[in-house]
Amino acid sequence: MQMVQEVAEVDEIIAKYGGDKSAIIQVLLDIQREHRWLSKGVLKEVSQKLEVPLSQIYHLATFYKAFGLIPKGRHSVLVCLGTACQVRGAPRLLDKVIETLKIKPGETSADMRFSLDTVNCLGCCALGPVMVVDDEHYSKPSAKEIQEITAARE
């Protein structure tokens, strides 16, 4: 049932871009945002509907960082490692986040609550070092604050 629903959602997204082949990256971005990953079944559907070979789609899916072939957690935690944040102690912030969440960048917690990733510059350097949880930005959070912020997310 879920698969059928997913396929229907994918078809809707493809229709939004008029079935234009060159919009495939936009289609994949929308799917990633909806489902939090790109499953094989979904990619096969995209391949069929847009008439793009599956191998090419996998090329795209593995080239761009925004895409994931494994499901991401319900909440995304990003730590910026851009140069300005780096110079202001981002690696230490990352250490604290790793300790709190008990996962490393690129991993998802076993209970599927969190996925941790690093980013290279979010463009809010005045607040560095920065941690983003879902869409909320936090500037220079302490170890205690990191615990509170993540505990509040189910």
């Binding site: 793009v52 290279n120 510059c121 979010l122 350097c125």
Partner: protein, 641 residues
């Protein structure tokens, strides 16, 4: 909104808007990505509510704008027409400002900016951060709600487009941009006018114009703020360029990491379309032009112009060989002109005020202004727009307010991963494309990252190479393998395993990577390494020969040590150590177990300054620990002396 079909319609609309706003005060509040992280959304709402409450809704306009530039002090507001500036606002400040300033015309002292000498400054233009800037492109951010095209029109927006389409030929527009010598603001510094001309003259009916908003240099966010805060300035420039080149289809490639910019852009495009400033028969001129927004998906290399065009085609965004320029053969092998966000935003100014005005600003080789993101170890972090020719020293110290915490300046990194670190001895270098390149760095897209004595330049070189190794598309051997090998060497050096001859090998590999990579990612990758070797060779030698990191950063080369004579057994470091590596107790000297210590530096940070017992050693052996159970030497103030 009714369609505008002529320059007269545009002027009439502008006058209507100005008349409606006549006599009203404007409270413009920073509400871009920066501000939002400090709850500027709530500040805006607080003002709206308070103005409503006080019955001032017909006398005061509360405007939610993009970034004004002084990000360190956001959320901030500028109240027009007086230009009174209040900084570091919280929602609860709204009622006070509304009654004091808007109703009683008094200043709220405690919300003013305070300069280094303790003076409170009322007017925005007198704040040192702004005083020395020349905000010809960025200044309008203060007066524009990006979701309302009327604000842009009120400032004369789209009059340059009207002039170009209705009073000038495409050739005349092209000539003007060529005469202005507008050089690309994305990093390449290539003369835009010449690129436009190449595209215009290339064979083929269908041509494309592209906005490169894939701002990928870490630490640079000028384009984000321009797109978020003043999207129409970019759009207007793009349409003017399209007219000059003979293109009817444009693309705006934006990073997906900039969701607010994507949103504001979509709103802007819709509103421009509604008014007939985009689409068919723009302003009744007969010129048609359409724009598509294409989001990036997280790949630095896709910001390279040929890679970007490949991504727009729906393929993987890898660079292509450029035997034939993309201006001649770009997207779908059609002539395509790509320029950076800031470059496009400068075009309307050149058309309205003329190339002569523009060439009057800047240096011989670099005309106009440049927006920089001044970040890192600097007091006044933010976006600054300065005329070309201002020196790095003036930017960092006069505008930036120098280094926080009284630390010593070490270097400034420009040009992102393609640039280099410029040392103190060269701070009087003017900001200029060619001058910066001569030093072994480059202007780049505008990231200016200030570093102090606590920054290890070898670590910074390694950081950039690590970034590039991950972002390299892998297509060509010099870049893929060369960067990887250089990174291996740098990793060894930072981990205390540097060898004699490492620096020479780095230089050798650099030559190959620089001269034979397919695209600029590889070709400029050696810059951070070569510039640090050139200006900071002593740091490399210290790492390799003495196993010492002068800045105290490289974990493998540092140790933390608690000086027994200074320790007062306050237990703070012990409690905060994340791995329980500190042994001690009440009245007992605290000792760090060097085996367990992860060098996180927490103890160093939390030891109270009046004790100052934790030191960071590098290149020196850690003294033997005192015996367990040693009591502290109590300092009981003057009584015991």
């Amino acid at each position: 909104m009714p369609r505008l079909n002529s320059a007269i319609d545009l002027e009439r609309l502008k006058q209507e808007i100005l008349t409606r706003a006549d006599g009203k005060r404007i409270v413009s509040i920073t509400n871009g990505t920066d501000g939002k992280t400090r709850h500027s959304e709530a500040v805006v709402q607080a003002f709206i509510d308070e103005v409503e409450k006080q019955g001032l809704a017909d006398k005061v306009i509360v405007k939610s704008t993009g970034c004004h530039g002084f990000c360190e002090k956001e959320p901030s507001t500028v109240i027009f027409p007086e230009e009174i500036c209040y900084v570091s606002l919280k929602p609860e400040d709204a009622p006070e400002i509304v009654s004091a300033t808007l109703i009683e015309n008094k200043i709220v002292d405690h919300l003013l900016y305070v300069d280094d000498d303790g003076n409170k400054i009322v007017h925005e233009s007198e704040i040192p951060f702004y005083k020395y800037q020349s905000r010809i492109v960025f200044g309008n951010n203060r007066l524009i709600d990006p979701k309302n095209i009327e604000d842009y029109i009120a400032l004369g927006g789209y009059t340059a487009l009207a002039k170009a389409l209705l009073e000038m030929t495409p050739e005349q527009v092209l000539e003007e941009v060529k005469k202005a010598n507008l050089r690309g603001r994305g990093g390449g510094g290539f003369p835009a006018g010449i690129k436009w001309e190449t595209t215009r003259n290339a064979p083929g009916e269908i041509k494309y114009v592209i906005v490169n908003a894939d701002e990928g240099d870490p630490g640079a966010y000028m384009d984000r703020s321009l797109l978020e805060g003043n999207p129409h300035s970019v759009l207007e420039g793009l349409i003017i360029g399209a007219y000059a080149i003979g293109s009817h289809q444009g693309f705006i490639y934006v990073r997906q990491e900039y969701p607010i910019a994507v949103q504001n852009l979509s709103v802007a495009l819709e509103q421009a379309q509604e008014l007939g400033l985009l689409g068919s028969n723009i302003l009744g001129s007969g010129f048609d032009f359409d724009v598509k927004v294409h989001r990036g998906a997280g790949a630095f290399v896709s910001g390279e112009s040929s890679a970007l065009m490949t991504a727009i085609e729906g393929r993987v965004g890898e660079p292509r060989p450029k035997y034939i320029r993309t201006a001649v053969s770009g997207i779908w092998e059609r002539p395509s002109n790509l320029n950076n966000v800031e470059t496009w935003a400068t075009v309307p100014l050149i058309i309205n005020k003329g190339s002569e005005w523009f060439t009057g600003i800047g240096t011989e080789g670099s005309k106009g202004t440049k927006i920089f993101s001044l970040v890192g170890k600097v007091n006044n972090t933010g976006l600054v727009e300065v005329p070309m020719g201002m020196t790095l020293r003036e930017v960092i110290f006069d505008i930036g307010g120098g280094i926080p915490g009284g630390k010593k300046f070490k270097g400034v990194q420009t040009g992102g991963p393609s640039g280099g670190i410029i040392p103190e001895s060269l701070l009087d270098t003017p900001v200029d494309f060619d001058e910066l390149t001569k030093l072994g760095s480059m202007m780049g897209s505008g990231g200016m990252i200030v570093m102090d004595e606590d920054t290890c330049v070898v670590d910074v070189a390694r950081y950039f190479l690590n970034f590039l190794a991950e972002e390299s598309c892998g297509k060509c051997v010099p870049c893929r393998e060369g960067i990887y090998q250089m990174l291996k060497i740098l990793n060894r050096i930072c981990e205390g395993e540097g060898r004699e001859g490492d620096v020479e090998v780095l230089e050798e590999i650099s030559e190959v990577v620089r001269d034979f990579s397919l695209c600029a990612l590889g070709a400029t990758a050696p810059n951070p390494v070569l510039s640090t070797i050139k200006y900071f060779r002593d740091e490399y030698e210290a790492h390799i020969k003495e196993r010492r990191c002068p800045a105290g950063v490289c974990k493998a080369l540092i140790s933390y040590y608690i000086e027994p004579e200074k320790c007062q057994a306050c237990l703070i470091c012990l409690r905060n150590c994340p791995v329980g590596a500190i042994i001690g107790g009440k009245n007992l000297v605290h000792v760090i177990d060097q085996e367990k210590c992860t060098k996180c530096g927490t103890c160093f940070e939390v030891c109270p300054p009046r004790f100052d017992a934790v030191t960071r050693l590098s290149g020196a052996k850690v003294p033997e620990p005192v015996l367990a159970g040693t009591e502290v030497a109590r300092k009981r103030g003057k009584k015991n002396e």
